[in-house]
Structure formats: structure tokens, C-alpha cells
């Protein structure tokens, strides 16, 4: 299961597993985001290439409008996947 929870203005929380089975529903949820976004990933347990692709589509869409899309509090295993993918710097992952 994956959920995109709105927190405050410009803040969302990613919860659960962002895999290929959840990617379609997640895409619709992310498509509703606008403006600069800080995404809290402290409860994101898992991500695969399908999930990364959802986040990159979101990054590109917001970036083209001049908005920042960054991920915060990323768990170590999830962080590794972003580092291996070469996408960590784009998404503000240190």
C-alpha cells in the first residue's frame, strides 16, 4: 500500500511502498500537487524503479514551472536506490 498524505501547505508525506503495483494510483495523487513541495519520506518503506519514475515525472513537471520538489527524511535503503540511480542531488537528498 502507498499513500500520499497532505500535511501543511507545500508539505506532503509519502507512506508505505511505492512499487509498480502502486505506481498508477500514486501518479494520479502526485499529479494533483502544485507549487514548491517538500516530501517527507520518513514513512516511505520501499521504492523501486517504477516509484522513482513517478517521482521524476513529478520533479520534471514542477521544475518546469520553476518549483522545487525535494525529498526529506529519506530512510537509508530508499536513499541508496536514489544514490545508485544518480538522482539524489536533484531531489535534495544528501
Amino acid at each position: 500500500m502507498f499513500k500520499l498524505e497532505p500535511l501543511a501547505a507545500g508539505k506532503v508525506k509519502l507512506v508505505g511502498r511505492l512499487d509498480a503495483a502502486e505506481a498508477e494510483q500514486a501518479s494520479s495523487a502526485f499529479a494533483g500537487l502544485d507549487g514548491p513541495i517538500d516530501a517527507d519520506c520518513s514513512a516511505l518503506e520501499y521504492i523501486s524503479s517504477a516509484g522513482i519514475s513517478v517521482l521524476m515525472v513529478t520533479y520534471k513537471r514542477l521544475h518546469q514551472k520553476g518549483h522545487v520538489f525535494r525529498l526529506s527524511a529519506v530512510q537509508p535503503r530508499v536513499r541508496n536506490v536514489f544514490i545508485y540511480s544518480g538522482l539524489a542531488p536533484l531531489l535534495g537528498i544528501e
Binding site: A20, S49, S53
Partner: protein, 135 residues
């Protein structure tokens, strides 16, 4: 070795995840390592679902463990020859928005595995990946 067949559909992923948990518990493996195993299986399985031509209703997944080395084996029967390792890896020199989609999954499989082997014989594709999962 634990072997099970799963419907050829991305919707099988939660069942694959449950199967891996069952194996980890039975073998007393460190659950810290389950992330990489899930990722390798998801990428290989979804590649088969999406790209293999032909194929029956189900794909077989076998898990085995010996001395800290976990073997993942996926078998897809009655399919045309197919080798996802022939897909070019992501081109990290290109700006992200110019990179082609796809290829990333298999790249991650190689990154997380000690070794990966693709074979095709008698219309069956077998992919075997070995990962280190020390107890």
C-alpha cells in the same frame, strides 16, 4: 528451496513480497536485507510481465539460501528469447530529463546483486540473481 508460481501480472507484487517474508522467517535471515531482495524480484518480475512475448499464465519464483548467499530464480515458460541485460544501462552523463526511461530497473538489479545470469532454452527464460544476506 522454496518455489511458487505467481499470476503474470503486476498485481502479484504484494504476494511476492509476502512470499519473500515467509522465506526470510523460515531461514532466520536478517529482515534488514529484505529490501534489496524485494527490489531485485520486483524489477525482474515486472520486466517479464511487461516485455516477454508469449508466456503462460504464471511465472515461477524460487528462493534458496546457503551460507549468507540468497539465490533468486525466476522462470518464464513458453516465451520468445529475451534478455533484459541487452537493454542499455541508464546514461548517467545525460541530463536526467534526456535519459530514456526503463533500463534503470535492470541496472539496480545488477547493482544490488553479487551476480545475475540470464538464460533462454526450450522457450523458457530463466533469470538467476544471487545476493548477499548474511545472517
Amino acid at each position: 528451496m522454496l518455489v511458487r508460481r505467481f499470476p503474470r501480472a503486476v498485481a502479484s507484487l504484494p504476494a511476492l513480497v509476502a512470499f519473500v517474508r515467509e522465506f526470510f522467517t523460515a531461514q532466520g535471515l536478517d529482515s534488514e536485507r529484505v529490501f534489496d531482495v524485494d527490489l531485485v524480484i520486483e524489477e525482474l518480475f515486472t520486466n517479464m510481465v511487461r516485455h516477454a512475448r508469449g508466456g503462460g499464465d504464471a511465472i515461477e519464483l524460487a528462493l534458496d539460501h546457503d551460507a549468507g548467499l540468497l539465490t533468486v530464480r525466476l522462470r518464464d515458460e513458453d516465451v520468445d528469447p529475451w534478455d533484459p541485460s541487452s537493454a542499455p544501462p541508464p546514461d548517467f552523463d545525460k541530463p536526467t530529463h534526456q535519459r530514456r526511461a526503463g533500463g534503470l530497473g535492470i541496472f539496480l538489479v545488477h547493482k544490488l546483486s553479487r551476480d545475475v545470469r540470464f538464460e533462454h532454452a526450450d522457450r523458457t527464460t530463466t533469470v538467476t540473481a544471487r545476493l548477499e544476506v548474511a545472517r
